[in-house]
């Protein structure tokens, strides 16, 4: 990749992306076939119900919005050579702090309040990313294992608040908070569930593309990820970059969390994320942190997730089947079936 000209590089990226898409669809088809479903009919149904139908398409895009943001939350640290597996926890902590801000900030105009709620979500995710970031920057603990462990802590903290102090009294059956006061002010496209979160995702994707491709910051980030020792010799503050990458990544995942709470659920509960953080990890891995790749892969995984939910309803499969599917996709991509020259 090093000495290729720009146009060659893009041909190569597009080639890899389209190969990955074909592979994913192939694995998905085999998976459906193994479950006793006709894959061709399932693809047809997906096309008809989820893509060619405006309502279905908007639902796919609704699922795509958190994926875009969590994938970016993994991609920014990835550029700095960090493996952030903690987007799930950062998502939840964003949801938590955003909820706190929604209930505890009062007396502001609704628009300003909404902005503060979204910012609080980013702070929550950012802080949750800062812990492993700082530990890694200090050279104490590898970020992969800490982000994984923090994923187990975040739901417990959310559970503490949802079952405890924040629990809505009027719905004793379901442990959840009352409706967030900012919900009516969250911009949603009329007639759909398509919300501001999607446009924020697109905005940050564009910013990410610009920053990594065209700015000095993006270059430094990549230098830190590519060869930290060389970056240090060139006078870059490597430790500061590592921390900043994790904080930024966490903030983006946290934004996904708070947007999901406000726009889709309206209240904080345990089941705000059906694994969006982990799916974001998969998206980034399939897209190798390329902005266009993130756009395509999060769209594709959103389609699979939507049809996965349909499968769940029609076939009575547990949601975990989607996990198996994700694992199979990763196995196939990691095995690099079309790579030439794998020697032993």
């Amino acid at each position: 990749m090093v000495l290729k000209s720009t146009s060659n590089r893009w041909v190569w990226i597009l080639f890899r992306l389209s190969l990955t898409v074909v592979l994913i669809l192939g694995v998905f088809g085999l998976f459906l076939w193994a479950l006793g479903k006709n894959p061709l009919k399932a693809f047809q149904d997906t096309l008809r119900l989820n893509l060619l139908n405006p309502r279905g398409l908007s639902e796919v895009v609704v699922r795509m919005s958190p994926l875009l943001l969590t994938a970016l939350g993994v991609a920014v640290p990835f550029r700095a050579g960090l493996i952030n597996v903690g987007a799930e926890g950062q998502f939840l902590m964003g949801a938590l702090l955003g909820t706190w801000a929604a209930f505890n900030i009062a007396g502001l105009p609704p628009a300003l309040h909404l902005v503060l709620v979204l910012l609080a979500g980013m702070v929550g995710g950012g802080l949750w990313g800062a812990v492993p970031g700082a530990l890694r920057a200090l050279g104490w603990v590898n970020e992969t294992i800490t982000t994984l462990l923090l994923n187990y802590l975040a739901p417990l903290i959310v559970g503490y608040f949802v079952f405890g102090p924040w629990r809505a009294p009027e719905l004793a059956m379901y442990p959840q908070t009352p409706e967030l006061p900012v919900v009516p002010y969250f911009p949603v496209l009329p007639g759909t569930r398509l919300h501001l979160g999607f446009f924020l995702g697109l905005f940050f994707l564009g910013l990410y593309a610009y920053m990594t491709g065209r700015s000095r910051w993006g270059l430094e980030l990549r230098a830190v990820g590519g060869n930290p020792e060389a970056a240090r010799r060139l006078g870059m503050p490597v430790e500061r970059w590592l921390l900043a990458a994790m904080v930024l990544g966490g903030a983006l995942a946290g934004l996904a969390g708070v947007a999901e709470v406000v726009a889709i659920h309206g209240r904080l509960k345990m089941a705000v994320s059906p694994g969006y953080g982990f799916m974001g990890f998969l998206v980034n891995w399939l897209a190798f942190a390329n902005p266009l790749g993130i756009l395509i892969m999060s769209f594709l995984l959103a389609i699979i997730a939507s049809s996965g939910f349909t499968l769940q309803i029609t076939q009575r499969l547990p949601y975990a089947a989607v996990n198996v599917l994700m694992a199979l996709i990763l196995f196939v991509v990691l095995a690099k079936p079309f790579r030439q020259g794998v020697r032993r």
């Binding site: 530990l135 994984l148 089947a321 199979l328 095995a335």
Partner: protein
């Protein structure tokens, strides 16, 4: 006093399902492979052992089949990282997803059911609580010195550690890095699955989705704590066993502390352990840990 005795005996009981995967990961990492898929392997072991012992009404058959499934599942990981030269962390995470999802599919029919558990075994008469465990607990604590002996006092252990330090030099000395890594991964797969099986058919006798609750990741932290030494792994497993039991006892006491806060205890302890013992391990860790070996020309 009674409280203290039950704490000690519970600590030993709950250390066992952690000790199995920790020992497996020590062996695997000594051969240069980081496997983040332990959690998935443990869940597979738990669900398979439960399903099989439910069907055959014999918990030992369940443990045996779980071990075989763990071996096969970890061979997927080994094939990806050894033959296809995949990124080790990503391959491990793929295995984690695989285990989480497949175990939920396998165990779906068994939620809320009871399976036969491993029989208790008492080598010598003692107080009612202490030393009344199933055989796997004793196996776990005997395996640790065995692993130590294997790693540090046998020819095979020397080869395995050589591959973990430098596959190229091991290759030059006539060792096949690929074969050694496959063997290490197979062993780790068996051990991790048995750890999960012990949780399901040794301790609880039930299955619930995600019942290992991050023990696979705690085991990875314990490997760092133990500095890749099977004997130190015993200390780590006991430490975490005691935290789990303390949390269960506090919950039973009904002190009015939210169970969510008590559940945080083992994870907070893990992060603290990593903080205190994780520094400077770079000089202790196997040198080729996590690196892809592209073969020697």
């Amino acid at each position: 006093m009674n409280w203290f005795l039950s704490w000690i005996s519970g600590t030993i009981l709950y250390a066992a399902p952690l000790l199995f995967p920790t020992l497996g990961e020590v062996i695997e990492q000594r051969a240069g492979l980081v496997n983040l898929g332990l959690e998935g392997l443990m869940l597979l072991g738990a669900s398979v052992s439960f399903a099989v012992s439910f069907a055959t009404q014999n918990a030992w058959v369940g443990v045996l089949v779980a071990g075989c499934v763990g071996l096969l599942a970890n061979l997927i990981y080994a094939w990806l990282v050894v033959h296809r030269q995949a990124h080790q962390l990503a391959a491990g995470l793929a295995l984690m997803f695989f285990g989480i999802g497949l175990s939920a599919l396998i165990g779906k029919a068994y939620v809320g059911q009871m399976a036969p558990v491993l029989p208790k075994f008492q080598p010598f008469p003692s107080q009612a609580l202490l030393f009344r465990y199933d055989l796997l607990v004793y196996v776990a604590f005997l395996l640790a010195p065995l692993c130590w002996f294997l790693l540090f006092r046998t020819r095979f252990g020397l080869k395995l550690r050589a591959v973990g330090e430098s596959p190229a030099i091991a290759y030059a000395a006539g060792v096949s890095p690929a074969l050694v890594r496959y063997i290490a991964a197979a062993t780790a797969g068996i051990l991790a699955a048995i750890g999960g099986a012990h949780l399901a058919v040794g301790i609880t006798g039930t299955w619930s989705e995600g019942m290992t609750a991050g023990r696979g990741f705690i085991a990875i932290a314990l490997v760092i704590f133990s500095r890749w030494d099977p004997l130190r792994a015993i200390i780590g497993a006991l430490l975490f066993g005691s935290a789990v039991v303390l949390q269960l006892q506090l919950q039973a006491q009904g002190l009015g502390i939210s169970p969510f806060l008590l559940d945080m205890l083992p994870y907070v302890l893990t992060v603290l352990v990593l903080l205190i013992w994780g520094r400077g391990v770079r000089y202790v860790a196997p040198a080729s840990l996590g690196r892809v070996y592209f073969g020697t020309e």
